[in-house]
């Protein structure tokens, strides 16, 4: 047994008190660094702090609240962090757009530099030539899926042995099969209805979640199942367009826009669904698919992006081609025909928190060893 200090600096978009898949991953990742026993302390610099879950911060994470709120503040806080902390062995960049800043920090501390890639943002070179250039020179990469790893390696020419695939995880104690919350169902007018659901950000610039594809097959589904409802959970600047589209297709009465829901209400919302459907084409991984599956909801996901890995190549749910509406419609009808009680697939345990923490810890240990080797040299 030898004891040595290994401090980590992490630059991230959002994490604690944030929303969405990336913030979820960052929270889980930071927690894993706390638990792994390798990292003495992690200084985390978020770009954004929203007002999500009120949760305890792991004790070895110092979460710099002052860094959220503007680029110049962010820059100043990173400088201050570098100034006040003598030893940092690893700088982790949580988003490819933050890479130039992370590179500077790593250089300043003679630390290793690691990059986390989530999905779409790193499948092709970014708008920033500097970030692209640095991306090919980082010491290590974490990718949330094999697909993201391959796409990133494709353009950055990063050697595959530096890329570590660390899929998202789902809290299997919190996301559990629950009976339908009748009050919630009544609020959305879902009592006595067959419900399909998609959860995600309705972002105009990222129309890859598959809301359009589901709306397009909805008229066909309504003909076969008149009491079908499509529950859209999430919000964003694309909502007006999607509402107008539903209107055009004549299915407004069959679509419910629930808006954004709090993290604590998510399980109740998944439990309203008879099928979770997401014919996406740009998901890096698709943590929502796992959450739905953990709640025992039958899942239909895409075979064209990272969802395929999240669904374990079909073991956790049905795979469809998002460009094939007939296949999508038939699979939905097929799934809604079954009236089996909710059951969580056993193989989902591979995506449990324990597994995630073990793998993240394994990666952190390798980084520490490499950092110490570099220091010794």
């Amino acid at each position: 047994m030898k004891l040595s200090e290994f401090n980590v600096m992490m630059l991230l978009t959002d994490g604690f008190w944030g929303f969405g898949g990336i913030s979820r991953f960052n929270r889980d990742f930071l927690t894993a660094l706390d638990k792994c026993g390798t990292v003495t302390r992690t200084l985390a610099f978020p770009r954004i702090i929203k007002d999500g879950l009120d949760e305890d911060l792991p004790e070895s994470i110092v979460y710099c609240r002052a860094s959220a709120g503007g680029k110049s503040r962010y820059f100043r806080q990173i400088l201050r962090g570098l100034y006040l902390n003598s030893e940092i062995g690893l700088v982790i960049c949580g988003h490819i757009h933050l890479l130039p800043l992370a590179y500077m920090a790593a250089k300043a501390k003679r630390a290793r530099l690691a990059l986390i890639i989530h999905g779409f943002e790193a499948w092709q070179p970014t708008r920033y030539p500097l970030a692209n250039m640095i991306a090919s020179r980082v010491d290590a990469v974490i990718a949330v899926s094999r697909l993201s790893a391959a796409r990133f390696a494709g353009w950055s020419l990063m050697s595959p042995d530096r890329i570590f695939v660390l899929g998202n995880c789902v809290d299997l104690d919190r996301f559990v099969p629950m009976p339908r919350d009748l009050e919630l169902a009544a609020r959305y007018g879902l009592i006595g209805q067959r419900v399909i659901m998609t959860l995600g950000r309705l972002a105009n610039r990222e129309r890859y979640k598959g809301f359009d594809e589901v709306l397009e097959v909805l008229p066909l589904l309504v003909r076969k199942i008149p009491n079908i409802k499509y529950l859209v959970v999430g919000d964003g600047d694309d909502r007006d367009r999607l509402e107008a589209k539903a209107d055009q297709l004549g299915v407004t009465a069959h679509v419910v826009f629930a808006g954004r829901v709090l993290e604590a209400e998510k399980v109740a919302h998944y439990s309203l669904a008879d099928a979770y459907v997401m014919p996406s084409s740009g998901e890096g991984f698709g943590i929502v698919l796992l959450e739905a599956a953990a709640c025992g909801v039958p899942v239909i996901g895409s075979m064209a992006d990272g969802s395929k890995e999240a669904l374990q190549d079909g073991a956790l749910g049905r795979l469809i081609d998002p460009r094939n509406p007939v296949m999508l419609a038939e699979t939905i009808l097929d799934v809604l025909k079954l009236e089996a009680p909710r059951r969580r697939p056993d193989t989902i345990s591979a995506f449990g928190t324990a597994e995630f923490q073990a793998r993240a810890g394994q990666w952190a240990r390798r980084q520490m060893e490499a950092a110490h080797q570099r220091a010794a040299a």
Partner: protein
């Protein structure tokens, strides 16, 4: 000296499951008492007492615990020693009380039976106990005045759990393992978790010098302070010390601390305190064994204490052993060191190593010179703090100091040590000055160590507890020297030195006795600490005339050790300070890298008392 455990049903009654947990607490603390185990359940199922025994007085089966008295009313599980038990027994016998054993434990029971809570101030020794009064259906918990022996409680639902070690409760009792924010902040500030907090939010120490009486069905009653150490430093105008006076007081204390039915040894270093204890002990016992820890790394260097200690041992005439430890041997011990560590602490490594050496020599009881510096003004704080306070009297100096401190930290970190930069800002009052003297890391430096959420919560809890303020409360108008002695005795000594001496000694089943940390010594010397003629280190030198002069003239060095450097695998010492070490300790304790394997304890393993099965318990009720 042992490990104790207990459970009390606040509502309902206890059954087999609870007995199993007390048995596992016993098992967790097995290293504290390798000589025996006991488990006892109250007839009505309201309380369970557990005990691991290190047999020192009345070492036969009659001294086994938990022990019930002749009347059958009282049952106790005790960790500690009552040094004046023979005198108390005579007194109690004269008042008609009957005894069945020769142990100090039975004397404790009878003293409480005879004098109630008043008994506690008559006891001379170190103790923590849980005592069940079958008649009143009441559980007594009590801890000695200085808090030499630990006692922790944790409430989970309707059951109150008690143990000698906080970590035993955290790992065995059904409680959450959430960290206490005040403990985190306190640990990074001072290097040990400050009472009244523990590393785990659900686990609480019973404060030193307190007694608590709990009964089932009644909402938990607060503990009551029966003894205040700080108030004994209040200056009395006619009090003064002299070498002769000091000699008499300390001789009496050492003599009391030699009471045992086994061999007693002394930890001997090149320092005056341990030499005094050894030399006084040598006059009171026929065969004294002394033991010194030395490091191979230091052989033939000025840091090596062994040659001086050997010289001293020769002068005293003790049977002396120098135990030299090398890097390889140490490496193999590090995991066990953290495994036995109760709560995070930046100290304890040397005590751990020397206790191991003592155990290997077959010693169960060892005297230590711990606590001498607090009474005899041995720490630099005794002259540095008054100087700092004089500086603080210059108008505006603290305001200017705060500005300078911030400037140094934000603009020029590394130019000055942060402690040096804070000298002016901490000169306004004694508490600030003391905190600066004792801190590992300054308050302002914590924001890169702990997150704001922990800091806000931790500081709020520390402010609310106001422990240090309450230490000074009875000494409002007293001279600074008395206040420093009180702070050192109730903060550093209690939270760091005594706590580490307990777990690190007990890690090897070695009882460390501290003749300087004694109620009677305090009552005699406390009032003289601030007098015109306070007891001084130089008085010890006068008492120690027999010792080689080289020991007298030696400057206080503090015990140097390569052990931390070994642990971190660094080539040279001094690159990293204690702050670095505290980070490492916290990391190990946080992630429980060395969590001991969970061995499910069954009550059938208990040797002392039969526990009825859950079914039989239910029938009985």
């Amino acid at each position: 000296m042992c490990g104790i455990a207990a459970a009390l049903a606040i509502d309902g009654s206890l059954d087999q499951r609870h007995a199993d947990i007390v048995a596992s607490l016993n098992q967790w603390q097995a290293h504290r008492g390798p000589d025996g185990e006991g488990l006892w359940l109250a007839k009505d199922g309201k309380a369970i007492l557990g005990h691991r025994r290190l047999a020192i007085i009345d070492t036969g089966p009659s001294g086994a615990q938990p022990m019930t008295d002749v009347s059958g009313r009282w049952t106790v599980t005790l960790n500690g020693e009552i040094y004046n038990y023979r005198a108390l027994r005579r007194e109690l016998e004269m008042q008609g009380r009957q005894f069945a054993t020769n142990s100090d434990t039975e004397v404790l029971i009878n003293a409480v039976a005879q004098w109630g809570e008043g008994a506690l101030t008559r006891l001379r020794g170190m103790f923590a106990f849980a005592l069940w009064d079958q008649q009143e259906r009441e559980l007594w918990l009590a801890r000695d005045p200085y808090g030499i022996k630990p006692l922790y409680t944790a409430q989970a639902g309707n059951v109150l759990w008690v143990a000698s070690q906080a970590r035993a409760l955290a790992e065995c009792a059904p409680i959450t393992d959430r960290r206490d924010a005040a403990a985190l902040v306190g640990f990074y500030l001072w290097g040990s978790v400050p009472e009244p907090f523990s590393w785990w939010e659900d686990v609480r120490p019973l404060p030193a010098g307190h007694v608590q009486r709990l009964s089932p069905g009644r909402a938990s009653s607060p503990s009551r302070q029966y003894y205040s150490v700080p108030s004994h430093f209040a200056f009395e105008s006619d009090a003064q010390s002299s070498p002769e006076f000091l000699r008499n007081i300390l001789t009496d204390s050492v003599e009391h601390h030699l009471v045992a039915d086994t061999d007693v040894g002394v930890f001997l270093s090149a320092g005056l305190d341990s030499n005094l204890v050894a030399s006084l002990a040598a006059t009171k016992t026929r065969k004294l064994r002394t033991i010194t820890l030395a490091f191979r790394e230091y052989e033939n260097t000025p840091d090596d204490e062994a040659p001086l200690a050997e010289l001293a041992a020769k002068a005293i005439g003790s049977e002396h052993t120098t135990v030299r430890i090398g890097r390889d041997e140490f490496d193999a011990l590090l995991a066990d060191f953290f495994c036995k560590m109760d709560q995070p602490t930046i100290d304890g490594l040397n005590t751990y190593l020397i206790s191991r050496a003592a155990a290997k020599q077959g010693l169960k009881v060892v005297l230590s010179g711990l606590g001498g510096d607090e009474l005899l003004g041995g720490y630099p704080s005794f002259h540095q703090i008054p100087r700092l306070l004089r500086l603080g009297r210059v108008p505006g100096v603290t305001h200017l100091g705060r500005f300078a401190e911030r400037a140094c930290r934000e603009v020029l970190p590394g130019l000055f040590s942060s402690k040096l930069a804070s000298v002016f800002s901490h000169s306004g009052n004694i508490l600030d000055a003391y905190r600066l003297r004792r801190c590992v890391c300054l308050k302002d430096g914590l924001d890169v160590i702990l997150d704001k959420s922990w800091l806000d919560e931790g500081f709020a809890k520390l402010r609310e507890a106001a422990t240090q303020e309450s230490i000074l409360e009875p000494l409002g108008q007293e001279p600074v020297r008395a206040q420093i002695a009180a702070l050192e005795s109730c903060c550093y000594l209690r939270n760091q030195l005594l706590r580490d001496a307990d777990w690190a000694g007990m890690a090897h089943g070695v009882e460390i006795r501290v003749p300087f940390v004694d109620r009677v010594v305090l009552e005699a010397l406390g009032p003289t600490v601030a007098s015109k003629r306070p007891p001084r280190k130089s008085d010890l030198a006068a008492i120690l005339r027999r010792l080689p002069p080289v020991l007298h003239g030696r400057r206080k060095t503090g015990f140097t050790t390569p052990a931390r450097q070994w642990a971190t695998g660094e080539a040279a010492p001094g690159r990293h300070g204690l702050e670095h070490w505290s980070n490492l300790v916290a990391r190990v304790m946080r992630t429980n890298l060395v969590r001991r394997p969970a061995v499910p304890a069954r009550t059938s393993d208990a040797v002392h008392a039969g526990i009825p099965s859950a079914d039989r318990l239910r029938e009985a009720s």
